[in-house]
Symmetry: C2
Subunit: 359 residues, 2 copies
């Protein structure tokens, strides 16, 4: 499938320069067709019978394998979740860290990760690296590592600045367990999570999947407790609730992914044209150049697919004005920043439309 063939599957592009996959990606026709087909079948046939259940379970495993391949891990290491938030909560809930333990994070994290830290009783150290040039951030991060650090918890790509954080280097330098928030990387850039202890991501962003779908890659599933089990977490249990976890990362599956969403995700993951990561990087680079003619760009060159820039006025108002002109981006409230999400589907025309609409 070529980029152009794949792009033609997204009707929203006829209407908008859709530059907000960092929040919600565009949906492809086949994705929605699969969702509607499953929903209509459930209406007509009911959600029951042996074939219904076995076909959904089969589809779960197919989707698990596709998602695992997307982030470079074996299927046995991939859990089906509802969101990045859900994945982060699974990890912090399972680690059971206490007030004598420390976690290192950054000042550029989304609440999807921070909330899980805040809900635990662990001590959190925050490295101020959000807008640093990436080459400088490793040292700042390492300075916050202490003998009590039990977890490195930070984004692969920062949702605010769009910069990469040096997660592999940090892991290598410290040998500590790493929870990576992959919300802005899975599907946006080539990901190899095989060396990452916990890699949490969403599917409705760069993977263009239905809402409420996500994944969590766990390098050693047997070493993390199951803190919020679902029926799918076990293959046997006692009347007290003591249970035997299923093999691998299935044990963390947070429940019965709604079959329409599962069918949609299965279809969405097939809309993955050759050369998509290279194209996305090219378009982000071009976006950066164009925006820099009108505003101060925060994102360093050669990062992911987000391009963030400063705007001195009312950012929410500008986002509304851009939307009226057919350009979908978001602001980062309180920070005076706007964020543009470029994908493999982004065209020169989309970017010209964005820049023409900027004050």
């Amino acid at each position: 499938m070529t980029i152009d063939e794949a792009r033609a599957a997204f009707p929203v592009f006829e209407r908008f320069a859709y530059l907000n996959a960092g929040t919600n990606g565009p949906l492809a026709g086949p994705t929605v067709a699969a969702m509607v087909e499953r929903t209509q079948a459930d209406l007509e046939q009911g959600r029951g019978g042996a074939e219904y259940f076995s076909s959904v379970v089969e589809q779960r495993e197919r989707v698990r394998a596709k998602l695992a391949a997307t982030v470079g891990v074996p299927g046995a290491n991939l859990s089906l979740t509802t969101s990045t938030t859900n994945g982060c909560n699974i990890v912090l809930g399972g680690l059971g860290l206490g007030p004598d333990d420390e976690v290192l994070t950054t000042d550029g994290e989304h609440f999807e990760l921070l909330g899980a830290l805040g809900a635990s009783s662990v001590k959190v150290r925050v490295a101020a690296v959000r807008e640093l040039p990436p080459a400088q951030s490793l040292d700042v991060l390492l300075a916050e590592v202490t003998p009590k650090t039990r977890l490195l918890a930070l984004s692969d790509i920062c949702w605010v600045s769009g910069n990469r954080f040096p997660i592999d280097e940090l892991k290598q330098a410290t040998g500590l367990p790493l929870l990576a928030d992959g919300a802005q990387s899975a599907g946006a850039v080539a990901v190899d999570a095989s060396g990452i202890d916990y890699y949490a991501f969403s599917c409705q962003k760069w993977l263009c999947g239905p809402d409420g779908t996500g994944g969590l890659a766990v390098r050693e599933p047997e070493s993390l407790s199951v803190s919020a089990p679902s029926y799918l977490s076990q293959d046997g249990y006692e009347p007290t609730g003591a249970f035997s976890p299923r093999a691998g990362a299935k044990r963390f599956d947070s429940g019965w992914t709604p079959p329409p969403a599962l069918a949609g995700l299965d279809a969405a993951l097939d809309v993955a044209p050759e050369g998509r990561f290279e194209r996305a990087a090219e378009m982000a680079a071009r976006c950066r150049q164009l925006v820099a003619q009108k505003a101060e760009v925060v994102t360093a060159p050669g990062q992911g697919t987000l391009v963030t820039f400063r705007f001195d006025g009312d950012t929410a108002e500008l986002v509304g004005q851009l939307y009226e002109r057919g350009v979908v981006v978001r602001d980062l409230p309180g920070l005076g920043l706007l964020r543009v999400s470029c994908g493999w589907w982004t065209t020169d025309e989309d970017l010209d439309r964005l820049v023409a609409a900027l004050p």
Copy 2:
């Protein structure tokens, strides 16, 4: 809306005697139409823009109010979850009970509740009341209460036997916090959860909602910790993740309910005909009588809407044979039991079809 008018909205009844709402309820035409409409709009318009977000947030609050009314609590006490499982995990995660604490449960619980107990370090006491006549179960339960009991955690209606457990009487006699598993009661029988500390339920069963939707009623939201926060849990946070929980039970909202599912649930909750609980009880009583002509019924008279009976042969095989004859029920593997779910939508014809197909 009369029962007959409401019944006509469910195409699956033209095909099946659909008697398995205890697993997944039937879907109504307007429910699926709302899901499809939202999905198509997301395809064409994208999942972005101020109006998109504000309309979904508005719909969340409308659905919250409807669900709250369904279980007899104020909207401020109702959290939007993904399932009964999710609700139970929220409660056990938030209570933070330890090995010196005890929880009282029964031998008739689903893993959706037991898993949350098993994942905590609490000591679990199991009262054997599953198939007892309900009048006798209170004493058996009370005999397992000790000075260390911190929580009563049991079903309102047992998913196996279909019998009611005396949750109100148990709460009254002990004054202890109560977590009720309402999976087989919400939407099946009239529910007043206003005196129950934690009432967890699913919406895809008796409320005929989309998959992946549920609710949790919390009597005193401020007294339970938020153990697995989502972005929607807070109205302010620090760089360390320390957060200020939103007022009321919203703080437990487990995430962004997929807008298509939310729209479907909004529509599904309107398909609630006058006299529905009375009719459902009548049909369950009639089912009990008819089945008793051919098998030993386990469910006591005058319980909820489940009717469970014994079958000496291969229960899975019988369920398959019934499905072939257009009758959808389930078995309870390993227990030699079959379970029939009667709703307000069940007709005499459905029950005659069931009984004619029984050996």
